[in-house]
């Protein structure tokens, strides 16, 4: 009895290590959906994949990831070398050419080892003290994806508005930061484009929504 048990276990072990070595092609289930319009019928066996909330969908995508990794397995070390090579060509502590706008010089810069930009400005002269408007490295800390765009400083130079996308959906939340106190305003506008245009009163801005 014990022996038979062991045999089964070792068989399972061999089987699972085999599938590990050579991941099989994922075979998603087929569930024909008929799509009818203009007197024409199309049959879509994989329509059911269009639901992110379905755990079966997620596990299918994960299976596909395992399979693609197994196909690319021999290149894993090479991928790392390619990554290092590409990264090695980039100047890590880079900064943009300053431009003068309404009394301030604006500079975007990157620090060594950091993934995201730091948006800064200097009053009147490039020798003035640097003022950090937004350090995206700090803002992005708790996110897998974080993108800031549409930065716009109010005409009185006291506020900055910008859009944030944390899901790579290109749907933004507009935030406003008080540049004098360094505090974010509590108001935010969700589900819009990132670009804003300040009105001359520095209290109003215009924005754009897709629908």
């Amino acid at each position: 009895m014990d022996k038979q048990y062991l045999v089964i276990i070792s068989f399972l072990f061999i089987f699972s290590s085999c599938t590990d070595m050579k991941t099989t092609l994922p075979t998603p289930k087929k569930e024909d959906k008929l799509l009818k319009i203009h007197g024409d019928t199309r049959v879509d066996p994989y329509y059911w994949l269009n639901n992110r909330e379905n755990p079966e969908v997620i596990s299918y995508l994960e299976e596909e990831n395992k399979y693609s990794q197994s196909v690319l397995k021999s290149t894993k070390k090479f991928q790392k070398e390619l990554f290092d090579e590409m990264k090695g060509r980039i100047k890590e502590d880079d900064s943009s050419v300053p431009y003068l706008l309404n009394g301030y010089w604006y500079i975007t810069r990157y620090e060594k080892g950091k993934e995201y930009p730091i948006y800064t400005r200097k009053f009147m002269s490039l020798d003035s003290k640097e003022e950090i408007m937004l350090d995206v490295n700090e803002m992005a800390k708790d996110y897998e994806y974080y993108q800031v765009s549409g930065l716009s400083v109010s005409p009185d130079n006291k506020k900055i508005s910008f859009g944030v996308d944390t899901l790579s959906r290109r749907i933004y939340t507009i935030n406003v930061k008080n540049l004098e106190t360094g505090k974010m305003l509590s108001d935010e506008i969700k589900g819009v484009n990132s670009y804003t245009a300040w009105s001359s009163d520095s209290k109003t801005f215009f924005l754009h929504r897709e629908r």
């Binding site: 995508l61 690319l72 290149t75 790392k80 060509r89 050419v97 706008l101 993934e115 629908r211």
Partner: protein
């Protein structure tokens, strides 16, 4: 005075008019730059003493400086030390927020010259380089690379421009690996730009080509009109014509030709794979829009009017029939497909992850032969992939490794 860039009065390539601020009625508009069938107005920047116009002719950008009193009118291209002889450059107006200046900021780069930002004094015509992108590693030298522009002939006789770059030691023959890139939708032009990342391909013997197919505005607005809605198939056929041309000219062969495109360029990949699968050894299709009809009929997806302008409205039968005739997911057949790497992001809202997922599953159902079709889904990201500047390189490293694997290159 208001200056307006407009396509009024059948100015397909745009013209520039002016009108008093006090009376903007169209009847007061006065032509400043007249419309031309050959010249596309790309951009206009006004300064206190002059205006700068970015215009495109035969695919190449020229920056023109014109005084308001017609006291000057010349091209910066003709007064600059930059290389405009080689036809694979990108040139554009930079960011110019200062109105009261005689200096214009410009941006230049090419397939072999890194991104350069310069300032041009419109008065004395002197230029000053403010910054040039550094390529670290003590190895890069522009002179080690060679670029050129060629023209393929399309199915209907039109000339399709192709920008090409390679390492100067790369010999051209039917064993040479070549990666052909294309987009061709929404009037977006893929300019020949420098990429330090791409050097990893070029230094390992790959040739890189950009096919300036219809659907872009490389050759003006008409080039775009010829590649949208009922002309959409020109986009795909042009890409294939470019491939056939490069094979015929012995730049590569079907065993070593690779195609790459993303988003609407991913649709391009899907279409060419159905139309001419035998031409390519491998295809990289990123966030591909491949289930055209179903998506365009899906009212729960946030489509914009831009989408209907580009593809048409499948609720109308005429459009439906045409879109169905090229939609990649609906045209999969029993053929040997190229090796294919498909990438997507679970949170993509531009092209939902399920389009590539469904496409890969169905491709495998019909695919003949041993070529690999694989899907990589970034479970954390959307349409643009990773947001960090280095993190994004990991995806490119994977794509390049896929190409190198197919070429038996492993270091």
């Amino acid at each position: 005075m208001f200056y307006i860039t407009t396509n009024a009065d059948y100015s397909t390539n745009f013209k520039i008019v002016k009108t008093p601020i006090s009376n903007t009625n169209k009847s007061n508009w006065e032509d400043v730059i007249q419309h031309s069938d050959d010249i596309l107005i790309d951009d206009l920047e006004l300064f206190s003493g002059f205006m700068a116009i970015e215009q495109r002719e035969n695919g190449l950008v020229y920056l023109r400086v014109i005084g308001y009193d017609n006291d000057m009118d010349y091209f910066i291209n003709e007064n600059s030390s930059l290389d405009f002889q080689n036809e694979t450059y990108s040139f554009s107006l930079g960011y110019n927020p200062e109105f009261n200046t005689e200096n214009v900021r410009l941006s230049y780069n090419s397939l072999t010259v890194p991104s350069t930002i310069l300032e041009f004094n419109t008065n004395n015509k002197q230029e000053k380089i403010l910054k040039q992108q550094e390529v670290l590693g003590n190895k890069f030298n522009s002179d080690n690379y060679t670029s050129e522009r060629l023209f393929a002939i399309a199915h209907d006789g039109k000339k399709i421009p192709i920008s090409i770059v390679r390492h100067k030691d790369t010999k051209l023959n039917s064993d040479t690996p070549l990666l052909q890139y294309g987009y061709g939708s929404y009037g977006i032009t893929v300019d020949p730009r420098f990429s330090s990342v791409r050097l990893s391909l070029l230094d390992r013997g790959f040739v890189y080509a950009i096919a300036h197919i219809r659907g872009s505005q490389y050759l003006g607005r008409e080039w775009y009109e010829d590649g949208r809605v009922f002309n959409k198939k020109n986009t795909f056929m042009d890409f294939i014509s470019a491939s056939e041309f490069l094979i015929e000219k012995k730049y590569t062969s079907p065993d070593h030709l690779y195609a790459m495109g993303g988003s609407a360029g991913g649709l391009l990949m899907g279409a060419i794979m159905n139309m001419s699968p035998e031409l390519y050894n491998g295809v990289i299709s990123a966030v591909p829009f491949v289930d055209v009809v179903t998506t365009m009929l899906d009212e729960s997806i946030p489509l914009t009017t831009g989408e209907y302008d580009e593809w048409g409205d499948p609720n109308i039968k005429e459009f439906y029939d045409y879109m169905l005739s090229y939609s990649p997911y609906d045209n999969i057949k029993n053929v040997e497909y190229p090796n294919t790497l498909v990438t997507t992001g679970l949170h993509d809202s531009q092209v939902q992850y399920w389009e590539p997922a469904k496409w890969v599953a169905k491709l495998r159902d019909y695919h003949q032969g041993d070529n690999k079709i694989i899907l990589h889904t970034d479970m954390d990201a959307g349409h643009s992939g990773s947001s960090g500047r280095f993190e994004a390189l990991k995806e490119i490293a994977m794509e390049y490794a896929f190409l190198f694997m197919l070429e038996g290159i492993n270091q």
